[in-house]
Amino acid sequence: MTATAIADRSAVPLHEDGKRATAVDRFNHIQLLEAESIHILREVVAEFQNPVMLYSIGKDSSVMLRLAQKAFYPAPIPFPLLHVDTGYKFDEMLEFRDRYTSELGVKLIVWRNEEALADGANPVRLGTQRCCGLLKTQALLDGLRAHGFDAAFGGARRDEEKSRAKERIFSFRDSTGQWDPKNQRPELWNLFNARIGLRESIRVFPLSNWTELDIWHYIHLEKIPIVPLYLAKERRMLVRGDSLIPVEQSFVQGLPGEEQWVKCRLRSLGCSPCTGAIRSDADTVPKIIAELMAVRNSERANRIIDHDQDGSMEIKKREGYF
């Protein structure tokens, strides 16, 4: 999107009969989403004492970061980024993180649950649920508390998963960091209630109304850098049934013959032992978009951790197998 394209009517597509679209002063949905997200980012910075942006290095974080640049330009981004490092992120993610954040000149805070890591916490030993609880949730809450952050931006989208489809843009957390989905604050129009009490906080989701396709569309239009793991190439993988498991950590070991070179990519970035890859030839952003338009499964279908909420049997098998 160039400066003039936003307002220029010539950017309105032509109808088949060659006339300009009838609704002249209309914005496309990407522009509307962008305007809404910027409004949200600014509102939080104006109303809270000490906001932070949770930065997960993934595609949604990349978009959120670009929106933050836009929201405060020409001033710098007025809050730090917090990356909760579980210790099992892909090396490529960490390289990307360090380089990109220093290129942008933003302040990055990295938080790890060192104690649990020193105790040898990993998904094979603890199971995905406990491992996530310690290395992600616990670390996140500790990190927020240690810095006294009262508002945290997250890149979650409502189209990811059906409980997220229920969450407010300003999502209230009590003094222990809990979400009460049965008792959310009403949220009308774009009037956000930012009032909180002592030790309470708010999670804010500026990308709530973006879909996965919108995210890629925006990355494409804005030429936003992404971790190369999203793009297809030949990679060493454990091939197990339909699953492709990245070989990064020593505790992830395959049976003879499982380790193969596969042309694949990641659709969503998490910890390497728990993030499955998909077979794909999409080695450019437009090809990812083409692939997305055709897929029949959600982006989190390859995430191992999302499946452990209801059924634990499946997990146990996975744990035993590893």
Partner: protein, 555 residues
């Protein structure tokens, strides 16, 4: 080479832009050419709203396979569970809170808000409906219009939703009878007329079996209209009444260096161009727009709802909560108006009560001067009352401590809407739509912007310094003192609106005394941290909210 350049370079080297990339480019362009329609569901509990949305998504091939698998039991899909995403909802078989879903067809993109029918969760229905262009009101063909149907239709109408699709559902249980449909249609049309809903489109459906949802039903040949999806693809978009004047509530002042002072905000209504004559309100100061600055470059023109940064010809201190507006067609400047309120708090709304009121980017104190009426949902009549209970809708007169820069809701949704916040528990207690406005007199009667407070800190020089600097950043008057034996005098200063930081050599808890309305009230503060004390101060309404200024200074 920057990261972005490097990636583009690699892409260009590795894989020449081929046919596929070009085809995708075309598809994306088509995608950007589509209109966006937001709609919400409404109707009584169990009328089939969630089932209808699930069916709509499924039949239009907008659900992922793994999501369908997750709600399939014994080869039957539970369509409602595609949107009822909370565990409690699945356990109780009802919707509790709004689910937002996204889908698109070749013609349009849609954002759906599937809302709960249960009366207890009316506030969540209002949440979902507040941003909708179209409401689908469902009626169970066996039951017809119920109280909750009327309540929802009434809220939809008050929220200014111009088009209502009336889906008469569960036609499979009424043998797809035309007579049944006609009866409900007539009732619904009468209801629409009563509520001044401009357009009501009736459609007979079976959400469970998919009749007239995406595909035209073979079982109701007497119905000659379009399927629900066909209607959604063709109803006219709600185009906000072309508003004459610019409305630009200042969200934040950007001051990265001495030579730049920009006002960040989202255009609430109207259009702006460099050179336009504007007025800053409430000060009334007139100037011209110098530039419209964005990350993507300067713009020649910007319109609602774009988020931009404006710079002005004259240096002037304008802060959050103020508004930059068209000089020739400014908004009302008011401290007294009538609003329709949907009440959402367990404690009823009564005359004389005080709430925080958020309107555009400002939060002020609001006093409920009068409760004029309550809508009797069963008969859709207004009745006199002295209170609005949970889920009630009524007309209320509100007075504010500082002027609002407002239009009526009819003129402009975003400058005519407000929320009321209970300052004791911070809950969003009500939603209001401004109906009529009494303009404030030109001479500003300065209502105290905030009440002050006396904070007794004892021997905590570090905390005192931290508080002082944080408070100074919020434009509040701060007095830091070590004077002894002058408590009464300090309280008097606090009553004038200042925050007094009183230090001494004694130890003891941090005490906060608010000097509101004569009777001083003292609170013991647990926290040693400035942020906690500031939060507490804000909670007690002692310092103005959100007036923090200047990124460079406070960050």
């Amino acid at each position: 080479m920057s990261f972005a350049e490097e990636q583009l370079d690699a892409a260009a080297r590795g894989m020449a832009v081929d046919d596929l990339d070009a085809r995708i480019e075309e598809q994306l362009e088509a995608e950007r050419g589509k209109d966006l329609l937001r709609f919400s569901t409404a109707g009584s509990v169990d009328d089939g709203k969630s089932t209808l949305i699930g069916r709509l998504l499924y039949d239009s091939r907008n659900v992922y396979d793994d999501h369908v698998r997750a709600v399939t039991r014994d080869a039957a899909i539970d369509f409602a569970q595609l949107t009822d995403g909370l565990r409690a909802e699945r356990e109780q078989g009802i919707t509790i809170d709004v689910a937002y879903r996204y889908f698109s067809t070749a013609k349009r993109k849609f954002i759906i808000a599937d809302t709960p029918g249960h009366e207890q969760y009316t506030r969540n229905m209002a949440t979902g409906a507040s941003t909708a262009d179209v409401a689908i009101v469902l009626v169970d063909a066996r039951k017809g219009i119920l109280d909750q149907t009327r309540r929802h239709a009434c809220i939809a109408s008050l929220l200014g939703i111009p088009t209502v699709i009336a889906a008469i559902n569960k036609m499979d249980l009424m043998e797809f009878s035309q007579e049944v449909f006609e009866q409900h249609r007539r009732d619904l049309e009468a209801l629409a007329q009563r509520l001044e809903i401009p357009e009501l489109i009736p459609v007979p459906v079976s959400a469970l079996e998919g009749d007239n949802i995406v595909h035209r039903s073979q079982r109701m040949p007497w119905y000659t209209g379009q399927s629900l999806l066909g209607l959604l693809e063709t109803v006219p978009l709600a185009i906000e009444r072309a508003h004459a004047g610019l409305r630009f509530p200042v969200q934040r002042v950007l001051r990265p260096h001495q030579d730049f002072r920009g006002f960040a905000g989202q255009i609430a209504a109207g259009t702006v161009r460099p050179g336009d004559e504007v007025v800053a309100l409430p000060s009334g100061f007139r100037t011209r727009v110098r530039s419209i600055s964005t990350w993507d470059g300067e713009l020649d023109v910007a319109r609602a709802p774009q988020s931009v940064v404006l710079t002005l010809e004259d240096e002037r201190d304008i802060s959050r909560g103020e508004m930059i507006a068209s000089a020739s067609a400014p908004p009302h400047r008011t401290t007294r108006f009538e609003a329709t309120v949907v009440w959402m708090h367990a404690t009823p709304l009564r005359a004389g009560a005080t709430y925080l009121l958020k309107h555009t980017s400002q939060t002020v104190r609001a006093h409920v001067a009068e409760i004029r009426s309550r809508i009797d949902v069963e008969h859709l009549e207004e009745r006199g009352t002295d209170q609005l209970a949970l889920n009630d809708i009524g007309r209320v007169v509100i007075e504010t401590s500082r002027p609002l820069l407002a239009d009526t809701y009819r003129e402009s949704r975003s400058t005519g809407s407000l929320i009321l916040i209970d300052s004791a528990d911070n809950a969003t207690a009500g939603a209001g739509m401004i109906r009529s406005i009494t303009d404030a007199a030109e001479t500003t009667t300065t209502v105290a912007q905030a009440s002050g407070a006396l904070i007794t800190l004892g021997a905590r020089p570090h905390l005192a310094a931290e508080l002082e600097s944080a408070l100074l950043g919020t434009n509040v008057l701060v007095l830091r003192t070590r004077a002894r034996g002058v408590r009464a005098e300090l309280l008097a200063v606090a009553r004038l609106g200042a925050v007094v930081l009183a230090e001494s050599d004694t130890s003891g808890p941090v005490l906060l005394t608010t000097g509101d309305a004569g009777a001083a009230e003292t609170h013991v503060l647990a926290g040693e941290q400035a942020t906690e004390i500031l939060n507490e101060l804000q909670r007690l309404g002692a310092i103005p909210t959100g007036d923090t200024d200047d990124d460079a200074v406070t960050r």
